[in-house]
């Protein structure tokens, strides 16, 4: 195994408002490879971080359109084309009577698309992540907020960035090695 090297600087916060203000400062300082970790979705944090709208709806739309087409196609193929059945004097196929089937398949596939979109956009599932090497990071799923600036960021400088994180209100700053 190769020797461990610095992966990132990790700053901890225990109170939401301090953390909330600090994220905007990291954004304004122009860092690129950074992220924040919170035990729950913090309202308004996307704007603080300067990240845009999620792309998940595109997946939902694709799933829904696919499901609707699938429903239309199977009902037409099965009852109207491959084995036409006369039932109750109704047409072999019309968009009206199989509509519940088309409707349900739209929702079903849109839901699968949404879940798939969430995983895809989050690059999950993922087996491990360097941050898990740092045991206190596990508190991010309990009650502690973290700002992480990666070494890969062009502006990263161990001492300067450390000083910057302390200045914006971090309670503790750690070096994460991986």
């Amino acid at each position: 195994m190769s020797a461990k090297s610095t992966y990132a600087l990790l700053a901890t916060f225990s109170k939401t408002p301090e953390f909330f203000q600090a994220t905007a400062k990291v954004r304004d300082a122009g860092f690129k490879k950074w992220d924040v970790f919170t035990p729950f979705p913090v309202h308004g944090l996307d704007d603080q971080m300067g990240v845009g709208r999620s792309k998940v709806p595109i997946f939902t739309l694709c799933g829904g359109v696919f499901g609707f087409c699938l429903g239309t196609l199977i009902t037409w193929y099965m009852n109207g084309f491959d084995y036409p059945l006369i039932v109750g004097g109704k047409p072999f196929w019309s968009p009206v009577f199989p509509f519940p089937v088309m409707y349900e398949l739209t929702i079903l596939n849109a839901a699968f698309g949404t879940l798939l979109g969430m995983f895809t956009m989050n690059l999950l599932p993922r087996h491990n992540h360097p941050l898990f090497e740092y045991e206190d990071f596990l508190k991010s799923s309990d009650d502690t907020f973290f700002i992480v600036i990666e070494k890969a960021d062009p502006q990263f400088d161990l001492d300067k960035t450390k000083a910057f994180l302390t200045e914006i209100g971090a309670e503790e700053v750690h070096v994460v090695e991986a």
Binding site: A24, F40, H43, D47, S54, F97, L105, L108, A111, D142
Partner: protein, 496 residues
């Protein structure tokens, strides 16, 4: 940029006028009810909720589990008897060819609807109180759909051919017939079950991550691996939360039309037939209201004992109980309205068969069932108008029991009375269930309870992330207005 809440821009003149008016009116600051009481912090929420599956299995759990699992064998027994002998072992006989199987199916699927209402519709309506009950209610939905699904599956008679209902080529190359509401039902219920599982699972991911992290810290490798496998590497990054919240909102948006469509389609099973008493346009909304009514009854039936056993009073507060009681009151009144409107339309429609069907319901051979239904569904929820009643947890629990009983009888009355006395008096009959019907149905309560007990034992039964997000300390501006609206007192942050 730092404050994302939109503010109206007022001209200085308008602002001055506003201040003048406000000075005159002196609006009272109406405090919003606290959703987590007892001045708790984030860590307490984690400890409380994770503590339940992490602690040693309590003795009552084993007792309940054994009772529930034994009861579930009734279903196994009933179904084995049915499959090995034939549907003749059920009480079905001409003219009543839809009996308890359909009644039980509609009953269970209706129970499930409250879970989806809480997780989807209340999410869209921004009802924050839903967060402490949505996980358990969604679990209830899934287990209720499991119980519901058994009945139509087995009532087809030769259950080994049940797959013919799915759009798969069978040996005769005959496809399903999509003009039938029963076929729509196959799609509606299977979609409902699947989407409920997806929604529930997605909501669980961050909490499974918490369970994994705690097991990791405690050095329980196997547990950490098991929870970690399903947590999919979730690490609470805001770049994750962003997509997660969007996906959650979308799933809520998808589940809302879904849940309304499911019981609508279930009601089509009846409404699309030409039988008096079934062939009415009021059925879809009336069935949906009834489903939500019964589902909330079941949510309270389950949550009140859990609240007492695990001391969850800070998370399921009196405010939560009030909200649920009020929904039961509202939907119960809608159901009562539907009952009277059915009667009115039967008379107003001037169709003798329709009039007979309804008079026969109330005063015919099944009058006893009809009046059980009316007293449980229409009269008992009216008690929830009184604050004293809503604050009496034991009484609430008992009334919810009545709601559950009443809603089962509603489906019984609808299904059986119309069939037993149909157009031809010479073929009239009186339907009674057999022991096989009874065992199969009561066993499903065992199955449902078994699954629910396993859920309580192994999974966090409340969404910790969502609960923390509605606590005052979660607000980024430090005054609790970001997520909560106004009126929250600014509190010290959540660290202890």
């Amino acid at each position: 940029m730092s404050d994302s809440t939109a503010e109206l821009t007022l001209s200085p003149e308008a602002a001055r006028q506003r201040d003048e008016v406000l000075a005159q009116v002196k609006p009272v600051d109406v405090p919003r009810p606290e959703l987590v009481t007892g001045d708790r912090d984030f860590h307490w929420v984690t400890e409380k909720i994770c503590g339940i599956p992490e602690s040693k299995t309590p003795r009552w759990w084993w007792i309940m589990f054994l009772v529930a699992a034994s009861m579930a064998t009734f279903t196994l027994f009933g179904l084995t008897w049915l499959v090995s002998t034939g549907v003749g072992v059920w009480g079905l006989a001409n003219p009543v060819n839809w009996g308890w199987a359909i009644v039980n199916f509609v009953f269970w699927i209706g129970i499930g609807h409250a879970g989806t209402l809480i997780s989807a519709i209340l999410c869209l309506l921004r009802q924050k109180w839903r967060v402490s009950i949505n996980r358990a209610a969604e679990a209830m939905t899934i287990f209720a759909v499991v119980c519901a699904g058994l009945f139509p599956l087995f009532h087809v008679g030769r259950v080994w051919f049940a797959w013919w209902l799915f759009p798969l080529p069978n040996s005769n190359w005959i496809w399903p017939q999509f003009r039938s509401p029963l076929e729509w039902d196959v799609f509606a219920v299977s979609t409902y079950g699947t989407v409920s599982v997806l929604f529930w699972y997605m909501g669980l991911i961050p909490d499974l991550g918490t369970m994994r992290d705690r097991a990791m810290k405690g050095g329980r490798k196997l547990k950490a691996m098991a929870y970690g496998l399903f947590a999919m590497g979730w690490r609470n990054s805001n770049r994750h939360w962003r997509n997660y919240e969007m996906a959650y909102l979308l799933l809520a948006g998808l589940s809302t039309p879904l849940v309304l469509s499911v019981h609508t389609i279930v009601s089509f099973d009846f409404a699309a037939a030409n039988l008096p008493g079934w062939h009415t346009t009021i059925f879809p909304p009336y069935f949906v209201a009834g489903a939500i009514f019964s589902g909330f009854g079941m949510v309270l039936t389950l949550m009140l004992p859990l609240r007492a056993v695990y001391g969850l009073h800070n998370l399921i507060t009196q405010y939560h109980i009030d909200c649920m009681c009020k929904i039961i009151l509202a939907t119960g009144s809608m159901v009562g309205y539907a009952y009277s409107m059915e009667f009115f339309i039967a008379w107003y429609g001037a169709n003798n068969f329709e009039v007979f069907a309804f008079v026969n319901r109330a005063f015919g051979q099944y009058a006893w069932a009809y009046w059980i239904m009316v007293s449980c569904n229409v009269i008992s929820p009216q008690l929830f108008w009184f604050k004293k009643v809503r604050q009496n947890t034991a009484l609430v629990w008992i009334i919810c029991g009545f709601v559950n009983v009443g809603m089962w009888f509603e489906r019984f009355v609808i299904t059986v009375t119309s069939l037993a006395n149909d157009f031809l008096p010479s073929s009239w009959g009186y339907y009674s269930p057999t022991i096989v019907d009874i065992l199969t149905f009561f066993g499903t309560f065992g199955l449902f309870s078994t699954l629910f007990l396993l859920f309580v034992r192994f999974l966090p039964m409340m969404p910790m992330g969502e609960i923390k997000a509605v606590m005052p300390a979660a607000d980024g501006h430090g005054h609790g207005s970001g997520t909560q609206g106004q009126g929250y007192p600014a509190k010290e942050g959540g660290h202890h």
